[in-house]
C-alpha cells in the first residue's frame, strides 16, 4: 500500500518537474554559465604555487553540482508550498496516505532532476576537455554523490515548505543558501587562502566538503578522506533534513 502511495506521488512529482521549463532550464544553464565565466576569469589562479591543477575549469567544475542541488531545494520547496497553498495537502490528509510516502514521493522529482543535472554537468566538463582523474568509475561516483546531495537539499526544501507554507518565503531563502556556496572553497583551495577568518568559515562550512569530494574525483583521483567527508556530509544532510521535514509534516497535518 505504502509502495503504491510513493509510486503515485513520485510519478506526479517527476511529471510536474519535467513539465515546467522554468524548473528544468535554469538549473542546467545558470551553473554552467557561472562556472565558464569563473573558469576564464580565475584561470591565473593556477599560476599560484601549490595550486592543485593547471586547469581552473577542472578545479571549478565541482561547483555546478552543488549549485544545481541548491536549485533543487528551491524547486522542491516551491512545489510543496504550492501544494499547501492550494489545499492539495489538505485533501491528501483525508486519504489514508502515510506521511513518509508523501515525503518520499515528493522527493522523487528532485532526485530525477538532480541526476539529469549531474549527467549534464559531467557531459559539459568532458566536452570542454576536463579529464576525470578517477576514471569512469569516478564519474559514476560523482553522479551518485551529486544525486545524494540533491536529495539532501531537496528534503531541506521540503522542510522549509512545510514549516512556512509559502512559496515566496522559500524564494527568499535562496540568497541564504547561496551564501553557503560563496563562503566555501568553491574558488580556491583552503590551504591557499591567506585570509584567516575566511579560511575558518570555509573550513566549518559543510558545503566545502561536498565540493572537495567531487573535486577530488576530478583532479586527484581516489582520495578516501575527501570522499568519506563528502559522503558523510551528504548523508548527514539527508538524515537531518528528513527528520526535521517529518516533524514539520506531522505538525502541519495536526494543524490541518
Amino acid at each position: 500500500m505504502t509502495r503504491l502511495q510513493v509510486a503515485s506521488l513520485a510519478r506526479r512529482s517527476i511529471l510536474r518537474t519535467l513539465r515546467q521549463p522554468a524548473y528544468v532550464l535554469p538549473p542546467l544553464l545558470f551553473p554552467t554559465l557561472l562556472v565558464a565565466v569563473n573558469a576564464a576569469g580565475l584561470r591565473p589562479s593556477t599560476m599560484l604555487q601549490g595550486f592543485p591543477t593547471d586547469s581552473f575549469l577542472a578545479f571549478a567544475v565541482a561547483v555546478p553540482f552543488i549549485q544545481g542541488a541548491l536549485f533543487a531545494t528551491m524547486n522542491a520547496g516551491t512545489d510543496l508550498a504550492r501544494d499547501i497553498q492550494n489545499g492539495f495537502l489538505n485533501r491528501l490528509a483525508l486519504t489514508p496516505m502515510r506521511g513518509s510516502a508523501l515525503l518520499a514521493g515528493h522527493l522523487a522529482g528532485v532526485i530525477v532532476m538532480g541526476f539529469v543535472q549531474s549527467v549534464f554537468y559531467l557531459a559539459f566538463a568532458l566536452a570542454f576537455g576536463v579529464d576525470i582523474a578517477s576514471g569512469p568509475a569516478g564519474a559514476v561516483m560523482i553522479l551518485v554523490l551529486a544525486t545524494l546531495i540533491s536529495a539532501g537539499f531537496g528534503m531541506l526544501g521540503a522542510f522549509m515548505a512545510l514549516r512556512t507554507g509559502s512559496g515566496e518565503s522559500i524564494q527568499a531563502f535562496f540568497p541564504v543558501l547561496f551564501i553557503f556556496l560563496f563562503m566555501s572553497s568553491m574558488n580556491a583551495p583552503r590551504n591557499l587562502m591567506t585570509v584567516d577568518w575566511f579560511r575558518t568559515v570555509a573550513t566549518i562550512n559543510p558545503v566545502s566538503y561536498l565540493i572537495e569530494a567531487v573535486r577530488s574525483l576530478v583532479i586527484t583521483g581516489w582520495n578516501a578522506e575527501a570522499l568519506l567527508l563528502g559522503f558523510a556530509v551528504a548523508l548527514g544532510l539527508i538524515i537531518v533534513s528528513t527528520v526535521v521535514a517529518s516533524h514539520a509534516l506531522h505538525v502541519r497535518m495536526t494543524r490541518t
Binding site: P26, L33, V37, N38, A40, G41, L42, R43, P44, S45, M47, L48, E168, A172, P175, F178, I179, F182, M183, S185, M186, N187, A188, L192, M193, T194, V195, W197, F198, V201, A202
Partner: protein, 262 residues
C-alpha cells in the same frame, strides 16, 4: 492639474520616488537581498581570493580589498538599478502603473521617479559597503576628488542599469521579465576583469573583456581608488552615452506600455 508644468513634473517624479523608496525600505523581502548580496560578494572575493594579489604581474598598489571594492561598488550600483526594475515590473503586473499613468501628466517623470528611488536604494548600499570596507582597513590612496569621481561613475552605472531594466519592465510588464533584466547585467559585469587586472587575463575572456565597456569603468574606478587615475575620460564618456541610450530605451518603453493600455 494646477501650477507650472515643472511643478507637475516634479510632483510626479517625487511621488513615484517616495512610494518606490518607501516600499523598498519597509519590505524586508525586497530590502535584505539587495543589501546582503554585495556584502557577500565582497566577503567572498576579498576573503577567498586575496592570494591572487601575489601573482606575478598583479600590480595594484592599494591592495586586493580596494581592488574588489571597486567591482562590488559598481556591481551594487548596477543591481540597485535592476532591483528597481523588478519593482516597475511588479507595478505593471499589479495594475498600479496603469492607474499611475492615468494620474501622471508626464510619462518621463515616472521614469525619473523610479530613477531617484534606484539612487536612494543604492546610496544606502554604497554607504554601508564603504563603511565595512573602511573597517576592513581598505587602503584608499586616491584624493577626495578621485573618490568623488569613483562614486559619480558608479552613479552613472546605476542610471544605465535602471534605464535598461525599466525598458525591459515596461515592454514585458510582468515579474517574469526578471531574468531578462538581470542576466545581461550579470554577464556584462562578469565578462570584465573582476578577479585580476586585464593584463593577467588570457584567451576568450581577454578578448571579450577588452571590448566590454565595464572593463573601462573598472579600470577607471580602480585608478581613482589607488590615486593613479586612468581611462577617466573614456569611462565617463562611455557611461554617459550608455546612460542616454538607456534613458531613451526606458522612455520609449513607457510609451509602448501606454500604447498597450498599461
Amino acid at each position: 492639474m494646477s501650477g507650472s508644468p515643472w511643478r507637475a513634473y516634479r510632483s510626479v517624479a517625487l511621488g513615484v520616488a517616495w512610494r518606490t523608496t518607501h516600499n523598498a525600505f519597509t519590505t524586508p523581502n525586497i530590502l535584505i537581498p539587495s543589501l546582503a548580496f554585495p556584502f557577500f560578494f565582497f566577503a567572498a572575493f576579498v576573503g577567498g581570493l586575496s592570494q591572487l594579489s601575489s601573482l606575478p604581474g598583479f600590480d595594484f598598489p592599494a591592495g586586493y580589498t580596494a581592488f574588489q571594492f571597486v567591482f562590488v561598488l559598481l556591481q551594487s550600483a548596477a543591481f540597485g538599478g535592476v532591483f528597481t526594475g523588478f519593482g516597475i515590473a511588479r507595478d505593471f503586473e499589479h495594475g498600479f502603473a496603469r492607474r499611475l499613468m492615468l494620474a501622471a501628466p508626464y510619462r518621463s517623470a515616472i521614469i525619473v521617479g523610479y530613477g531617484l528611488a534606484a539612487l536612494a536604494r543604492w546610496a544606502l548600499t554604497a554607504t554601508l559597503l564603504t563603511i565595512v570596507a573602511l573597517i576592513l582597513r581598505m587602503d584608499v590612496s586616491g584624493s577626495g576628488v578621485d573618490v568623488v569621481g569613483l562614486f559619480f561613475l558608479a552613479l552613472l552605472v546605476n542610471i544605465c542599469a535602471l534605464g535598461w531594466s525599466a525598458g525591459v519592465a515596461t515592454r514585458l510588464r510582468t515579474m517574469q521579465a526578471g531574468p531578462a533584466m538581470q542576466m545581461p547585467v550579470f554577464l556584462i559585469l562578469f565578462f570584465a576583469p573582476v578577479y585580476v587586472p586585464l593584463t593577467l587575463l588570457s584567451g576568450w575572456i581577454h578578448t571579450v573583456a577588452t571590448f566590454n565597456p565595464v572593463t573601462y569603468f573598472l579600470e577607471a574606478g580602480r585608478g581613482f581608488i589607488s590615486g593613479e587615475p586612468e581611462y577617466v575620460a573614456g569611462a565617463f564618456a562611455t557611461a554617459l552615452c550608455l546612460g542616454i541610450l538607456a534613458a531613451f530605451w526606458a522612455v520609449r518603453g513607457m510609451r509602448r506600455a501606454e500604447a498597450a493600455g498599461g
